[in-house]
């Protein structure tokens, strides 16, 4: 009996078990109130609403994991600005694929500026990325004059955002899953992954074993920015327009998904698989609300409550909090 309770406890208290149960519970509830939603084809199809935010949540998880109050609130604005830069490039006559490359590079540069402010200057990540949230968001509005930029129809580019492979959205199969697979492999098998956890558990200890927390954080912000740029490419391919506010509000979703997935807000603890499951919880929740005619603004309100609830839950479970 004793051995059973000891071995059963980690499985029962593991955030991933909880999220899996939550997913099943939501499917049961939705199959009662809106049976039309709970069909395999539709459930696969709605995953495309989570691909872009899933990319942002991936970068967010890495940054929060690295500790010392790490967070990137600028990801939504970085997505908007990268998308607009790509739109302007296409309008200026750059072919669409190189322009997509420019969007990703723009994202990396925006991330590098965050990394400079936070890892080099030493501004706390929360306020630094709130500053760039407004800075990048306003720049996207300023350089586009507040207008959407359309026209990315050439050379199979729409396939990324609109195509399907065996009824599975291409953006899930060709963008999101590879991104999680690559980062998951890095986390599990390489020194880079171990360094994130070491730094996340305390700068001083990590420095003693020869790691540089500053360099790591700088690169993590670059990765987060690059993923926002990739998200902008997917968005432009899907909607065929670059909107100056395309990513507004995404930072809330990305942080919520990372924290709901069990990533502790003070770093060092959390798993990519938790973030991945939490992504599907949020996709299903949003789809369920949307399906029942609940407006987008209310959805973000529910998400706000979910964010607060999941942080409080993490604090209660770990017996810690902000002190």
């Amino acid at each position: 009996m004793t051995s059973l309770s000891v071995s059963a406890r980690p499985i029962l208290t593991d955030r991933r078990t909880m999220l899996a149960l939550l997913l099943v519970g939501m499917l049961v509830v939705f199959s009662q109130i809106s049976p039309a939603l709970v069909r395999p084809t539709l459930l696969v199809d709605i995953t495309k609403f989570g691909v872009v935010v899933g990319l942002l949540a991936l970068g967010q998880t890495l940054i929060i994991l690295s500790g010392r109050g790490g967070i990137d609130l600028s990801v939504g604005s970085a997505l908007s600005l990268s998308g607009i830069v790509m739109g302007l490039a296409v309008s200026a006559g750059v072919p669409v694929w190189p322009a997509a490359g420019i969007a990703i590079v723009t994202g990396v540069l925006l991330g590098a500026f965050n990394g400079f402010l936070i890892a080099v200057v030493g501004i706390p990540a929360l306020i630094g990325t709130v500053g760039t949230l407004f800075l990048y968001g306003s720049l996207a509005l300023v350089i586009s004059g507040g207008r959407a930029i359309s026209g990315y129809g050439e050379a199979g580019f729409p396939f990324i955002g609109q195509g399907t492979v065996l009824n599975v959205p291409a953006q899930l199969l060709l963008v999101l899953l590879p991104a999680y697979a690559v980062v998951g492999w890095l986390m599990a098998r390489t020194r880079f992954g171990r360094t994130i956890y070491e730094v996340g558990n305390g700068d001083r200890a990590a420095r003693l074993v020869g790691r540089s927390p500053r360099a790591l954080r700088f690169w993590l912000f670059c990765i987060s920015g690059g993923l926002a740029g990739l998200g902008a490419v997917v968005t432009n391919s899907w909607l065929q327009t670059a909107r100056p506010a395309a990513g507004s509000g995404f930072e809330l979703q990305a942080v919520t998904i990372a924290v709901l997935g069990g990533t502790h807000i003070f770093g060092g603890r959390g798993r990519l698989s938790g973030t991945f499951l939490a992504l599907f919880v949020v996709i299903l929740l949003n789809a369920g609300l949307q399906f029942n005619g609940v407006d987008q603004v209310w959805q973000s309100g529910v998400l706000g409550l979910l964010l607060i609830g999941s942080v409080v839950l993490n604090n209660l479970l770990s017996g810690e909090g902000d002190e």
């Binding site: 010392r68 109050g69 609130l73 402010l117 200057v121 030493g122 501004i123 706390p124 990540a125 929360l126 306020i127 630094g128 709130v130 500053g131 760039t132 949230l133 407004f134 800075l135 968001g137 306003s138 720049l139 509005l141 300023v142 004059g145 507040g146 509000g249 809330l252 942080v255 924290v259 807000i265 407006d295 603004v297 209310w298 973000s300 309100g301 529910v302 998400l303 706000g304 409550l305 964010l307 607060i308 942080v311 409080v312 604090n315 810690e320 909090g321 902000d322 002190e323």
Partner: protein, 318 residues
């Protein structure tokens, strides 16, 4: 502690910046230095000033509240609803809106203190929650309210706007609370070291909830003033209001990591932000640039603060 000389330089910096800005705009913009325009600057920024005064306390505590813009929207709607449907005297409307604001603020503060959450995460969540509440109340129809009372709007005594005097009074009261009352001293202590404050018997949770409640109450006052001036509530009323407030406090020299800051600095910061926005409008630069300028000034203010503290040998906490 930061050494005294750096502290003095930092305190002086905002007033030097403000003076430089005033001189530059006076030369560049012919319509800037007129009693009419400066009066408008004060009327338009009185709400910002009042909220920034209370935000100073919250930031000195080591917290922040990014939900004030959404709260302003909800409270402006409440003001409009009370005046159009309930036929109440202005004083009653003011009392109800300020009390509701205090309740909303204490809810924010309770989540931070009792839920032991980082304030920015908690209030980021609440930003969207309050915005949803406003959206529900608004229900697809803009709410128009008749002019409330002129003294809460654009009324002037001679050339001096009444709301400017109200804002000054709020600053005077809060500055004296910060210096002379236990509440004020406790807030600096909590911001400097929350653990130590707790060990010294300071009721940390109550101070946090109190500061957030005060902030909410003053957002209520700002909402009533906004309705007296503008007279309409839309789904996005108050959006991005928090940026100007936080920018004013940080540019005014209050440390984002808590424990250090002053009401007089915030007053300078508010004037700087208000004059900057006015200058952008007068010079014909598209108002979209407002966000760029404010975001950049926040980063410069916080960045220079962090670098100064580092040079004076103090480790900056995350």
């Amino acid at each position: 502690m930061v050494n005294a000389r750096l502290e003095r330089i930092r305190r002086l910096a905002i007033w030097v910046l403000l003076a430089a800005q005033l001189v530059a705009f006076s030369f560049l913009l012919p319509n800037f230095l007129t009693a009419g325009n400066l009066g408008n600057v004060i009327v338009n920024s009185a709400g910002l000033a009042i909220v920034a005064a209370a935000m100073t306390f919250v930031i000195i505590l080591g917290c922040i509240d990014v939900s004030v813009g959404s709260m302003l929207g909800v409270l402006a709607w409440l003001t409009g609803w009370l005046t159009t449907t309930q036929d109440m005297p202005v004083v009653a409307v003011l009392g109800i809106v300020v009390a509701t604001g205090a309740l909303m603020g204490s809810l924010n503060g309770s989540i931070v203190a009792k839920g032991r959450m980082t304030a920015i995460i908690a209030t980021l969540g609440m930003l969207f929650v309050w915005r949803s509440v406003l959206y529900g109340l608004w229900g697809g129809r803009d709410l128009f309210a008749p002019p409330l009372v002129p003294w809460l709007g654009g009324m002037r005594i001679g050339v001096v706007p009444v709301v400017g005097l109200i804002a000054l009074a709020v600053f005077a009261v809060l500055a004296s609370v910060a210096k002379r009352r236990r509440f004020g001293r406790d807030i600096y202590a909590v911001g400097n070291d929350r653990q130590a404050a707790r060990l010294n018997g300071i009721p940390v949770d109550r101070r946090i909830i109190g500061a957030f409640a005060l902030l909410g109450a003053l957002v209520g006052l700002a909402a009533v003033m906004q309705m007296a001036r503008v007279g309409v509530v839309q789904a996005f009323t108050g959006r991005d209001f928090e940026l100007g407030v936080i920018a004013a406090v940080l540019i005014g020299g209050t440390s984002i990591t808590g424990g250090r800051g002053s009401l007089s600095g915030t007053l300078g910061g508010v004037l700087f932000v208000a004059v900057l926005q006015n200058g952008i409008v007068l010079s014909g630069v598209p108002p979209l640039w407002n966000g760029v300028a404010l975001g950049a000034f926040v980063l410069i203010a916080v960045g220079s603060d962090v670098l100064l503290e580092r040079r004076s040998g103090q480790e900056v906490p995350a």
